[in-house]
């Protein structure tokens, strides 16, 4: 009887509020996410394909892609290793001040990225605290790709720590113990047993960190210096074009960043889905 009241073949849901909550969610997704994206596409529509192609293959811009990818790549790899270590230390050991370190991990999220940028630039410039020490060794961090990678690593490390940490917490102690009772050395147990457990989370976290770094602006520009063809990142190029009131050009560059990020996020999601399915025997 209830079914017929709600239309034929339509099952009544147990959880109430489906229509309302989905409606509100979709409205917000549209307003906050999709509407700005639509305006981006709107800007792009003023360009012809050849104009678009010309804009996005500008040699200065191409160089900026290289710098951004290199910086983000190095930052992501650094974070994968260091973030895993941090998560490991926070989950597996007890030490005084553990909660403080745990809270500090979120600092890059909370801190305005510009503050991070200014701080890093001051530290690593040739007369900053650390830069002064590195200078005689012939190492310069500020105004090189190393500085860019450093700033990117700073802002994106929480992604790795916060995705790996809960998975590591859920890892049953028995699994470690089983490996050890079977005679595995620590390294072997870590590589063959623990790492595969963490692998999906680690890849996701690293991927997110990479994507975040691709679009990082505030933290990077101060330390990058913005020397054309050398330390100019793609998001800076967007900023420059906007300052020149070249909205169409800015949108064209933005669309590249957006497409890359979306493709990466999608790829990570698909891969993770397949990985989990494989564990449950979904393999042909």
């Amino acid at each position: 009887m209830i079914v017929s009241a709600f239309g034929l073949g339509r099952q009544r849901r147990v959880l109430p509020g489906f229509g309302l909550s989905l409606g509100v969610s979709l409205t917000f997704v549209s307003l906050i996410l999709l509407l700005p994206l639509t305006s981006l596409v709107g800007q792009l529509s003023q360009l012809s394909w050849s104009q678009y192609w010309f804009l996005i293959t500008d040699p200065r811009l191409l160089a900026s892609y290289g710098v951004t990818l290199l910086g983000a790549g190095v930052a992501a790899l650094f974070n994968a290793a260091f973030g895993l270590l941090m998560a490991w230390v926070l989950v597996r050991y007890d030490f005084p001040g553990k909660r403080l370190v745990d809270a500090l991990m979120d600092l890059p999220f909370a801190l305005p990225t510009a503050v991070a940028g200014v701080t890093l630039a001051t530290l690593y410039s040739s007369n900053g605290w650390i830069g002064r020490l590195l200078d005689p060794l012939g190492l310069s961090v500020a105004y090189t790709w190393v500085g860019i990678a450093l700033a990117m690593a700073f802002t994106s490390i929480p992604f790795v720590v916060r995705t790996v940490q809960p998975v590591l917490e859920d890892l049953p102690a028995e699994v470690d113990e089983a490996a050890v009772t079977l005679g595995a050395r620590d390294g072997h147990a870590f590589r063959r047993v623990i790492l595969p457990y963490l692998w999906p989370a680690l890849v996701t976290g690293t991927g997110l960190a990479f994507v975040r770094s691709l679009g990082e602006f505030g933290a990077v520009i101060f330390i990058a210096g913005g020397k054309p063809y050398e330390t100019e990142i793609t998001s800076l190029m967007i900023f420059v074009k906007l300052q020149e009131y070249d909205y169409a050009g800015a949108s064209a560059v933005a669309s590249i960043v957006l497409a890359t990020s979306l493709a990466l996020l999608l790829a990570i999601n698909l891969w993770q889905g397949r990985f989990i399915k494989r564990l449950h025997g979904g393999r042909p």
């Binding site: 113990e177 089983a178 490996a179 009772t181 079977l182 005679g183 050395r185 063959r192």
Partner: protein, 366 residues
Amino acid sequence: MSIRIARIDKTYGAKGPGQTRALEPIDLDIHDGELIGLLGPSGSGKTTLLRIVAGLEQADSGSIHFGERDVTRVHVRDRRIGFVFQHYALFRHMSVYDNVAFGLNALPRRERPSTEEIRSRVMQLLEMVRLQAFAKRFPAQLSGGQQQRVALARALALKPDVLLLDEPFGALDAKVRQELRRWLRHLHEELHFTSLFVTHDQEEALELSDRVVVMSNGRIEQIATPDTLYRQPANRFVFEFLGDINRLEGDVEREVLTCGNARIAVPGIASGRHELLLRPHEISLATQASDRAHLPVTVSAIVPVGAEVRLELEADWLGEPWLATIGHEAFERLDITRGKRLFALPSQLHRFDAAQPTTLIPATAS
């Protein structure tokens, strides 16, 4: 390989009131090829003892020998043990084959057998646990019983000196548990590994073990064969833990125990207040009281299960109802229905309040 556990004790927590003693100093000798069950309620220290033998935990003092080898300070991975966990602890990202091969692959290069040897050894183990067809599956695709068999094969792959099992069948349902128990006993008869397993299930301990170690509060209460354990429990705890019990408390005067309007003649018992215990199968029922035993009861529940009928008996002289198991034949002969009034006739009574536990035979004939 025999196991000698000497003066092992363990305390958790810092010194002070919050400190808990997990194990009193424990001595235990396990002979080569023996299958020993550690039986006790939760918190009795049985798992702690097992984990100390495995090397997964360290004792505060005492020593452990495997044969002549002192392993007290030897790391788990070098103790040559096989360990089976309650929740299997299989590596979920590895196939069944890789799980079983893990220990062999983890050997240092010069001790590691060739790939073909590993292959034949793993397949042989999988055949032993009857899972050859499942070699390529992942743990999540197997039932609980199958997963535990994989865990056993994995633990046996390195031919351990000692096999340790922590509530191995605890997470499985009753039927599978029964099957695996039988299978483990056969396997043990075949391979003769020395084995120590933890359980809180009396039936499991009695069925599997050559000897049972009953533990409570970090102490060993009794070490005995299942038969002795059941017939001659060392103390009240063991008696209570190994099965259902009924209590009879009353005052004894001139070898007759009186409790309300119930009384029973018990030859050889001293005067004074006594608590006597008896098992459900040590009660028979009659329509008439004898002149030596007058224990009127009312049947309050009937459970006809298996070879016998379980009855709950109530009486105003009893604090808590008695449980009796009688044969179907007697059940029919007495024409028992709920609410029927009958007389209980104990065949034996056990006494644990004296220094030595004693079994008393009440006078039945008049």
